[in-house]
Symmetry: none
Subunit: 249 residues, 2 copies
Amino acid sequence: MLKKERQAFILHQVNLHNRVLSSTLSHEINVSEDTIRRDLQELADEGKIIKVHGGALSHSFNQIYYPSNNVYSHNHKKTIAQKAASLIRDNMFVLTGGGTTIVELARALPPALRATFISGSIPAVLEYMHHPNIDVILIGDKVSKNSKITVGGEAIARIRQLKADLCFLGINAIDMDHGITDNDWDVVQIKKAMLESSKQVICLTIAEKINSVQPIQVCGLDKIDILITELPPDDPMFEPYIRAGIKVI
Amino acid sequence: MLKKERQAFILHQVNLHNRVLSSTLSHEINVSEDTIRRDLQELADEGKIIKVHGGALSHSFNQIYYPSNNVYSHNHKKTIAQKAASLIRDNMFVLTGGGTTIVELARALPPALRATFISGSIPAVLEYMHHPNIDVILIGDKVSKNSKITVGGEAIARIRQLKADLCFLGINAIDMDHGITDNDWDVVQIKKAMLESSKQVICLTIAEKINSVQPIQVCGLDKIDILITELPPDDPMFEPYIRAGIKVI
DNA sequence: GCCGTTTTTGCGGTTTTTTGCTGGAATTTC
DNA sequence: GAAATTCCAGCAAAAAACCGCAAAAACGGC
């Protein structure tokens, strides 16, 4: 087994189970624990996982328990949410993914709005539920503890049956060459299904993530209709995206 | 269990219950009290909790006085949850409904337990998600804002496809003549489906609701295998139920 | 193919971390 | 004030991490 291959396997295991033990991995892959340790160290250096004594934890594991509420980017996300909310009209069917930006969007919805929101994200649904006039449809399947959304074939099959008016996706990375990319296989599958099942695709992200790349592709730029960040749309950063046919707000 | 993981669990417990006892934690996680004490000390050094003699307090608890809203029945539910949790074995498939008692059950699960929980209740799933070794399957459909569970034909169809080992239902009313009864049509449909899809049906309720009736019937007493309340099982109140073949714990 | 270089991997020995335990000090509780 | 807890310091065993080092594998140029 190649080193890269092995590390990819380890990363997948970490993302899947939120935690791995060096001893277990060494046994599973049939290499010495030292090698596993070195792999974990490298992955940790790249920021992919968090190494701890005895094994490693997924990054999101820490997010669950040690929520570091970065006030700075939180305000960014609020302005993004405001812009996004203004696109929604009464009686629309809206498909949304997960992530903190989407939760912020849920909080920013005007109370008078009447619409149907469809999502597999538990934190997002929790917010939609508090809204007086919104119908909420929850997409069921296995819950990914990492991303707190439901993932799997069942969920994808349900999404495929829909044709929503809008689809809001919080994205982790976007650049001119690779389009939207992400780092969790299962989540990518869900996002793919979502953007195929909607008339309009709206991507939300803080500007920091523009022009960055992650290992797995979600879709090319051609699938995106609107891109929303906290910056004004005339920022020179967006020029290539606008030329590629994306509307920036 | 990894050290970080254990500390995360402790922190979660502290934030959840506002206070923890070293002795309880040591028993729950199955490590020595010294280890717990060292963990608490480290978490306190990081400013995450406040360490006190015998255990630790959450930061918020220290500021606020006693916000003990209805501690009385809350404690009842905790003892019910303890009894219920003791029935679950490793690798079981467990179907659960919604309600505060079920949420309490979710919080009472021992951290070492490995099992698969299936539910349509959003608050319950939120709790299951925090558990390190539990797989969570979410039943999707339209979200009922009242009961915070998913209801509808889609959900029922999914539940029908299952055959779980245990089914835990928090119930609103039970009496000898009408069996289990409830007051929300949609929720009743879900509960009916759930108890049909499980090998064993366990009903959880505070004793107060025993011998009360609600407008819509969920099922007769014959469908119930086990009944759990906060009272000891030899309370005379249970005699007719035991005679009807229900095991009371 | 061949040979030198670099990378990767496993191993032995040492160091560090973690954890439980013991005995005595400190603290709470009645 | 006495009994029961809880805390603490230090120790010991086990596990994990670290540090070279050398064998093995992969690579690259010829």
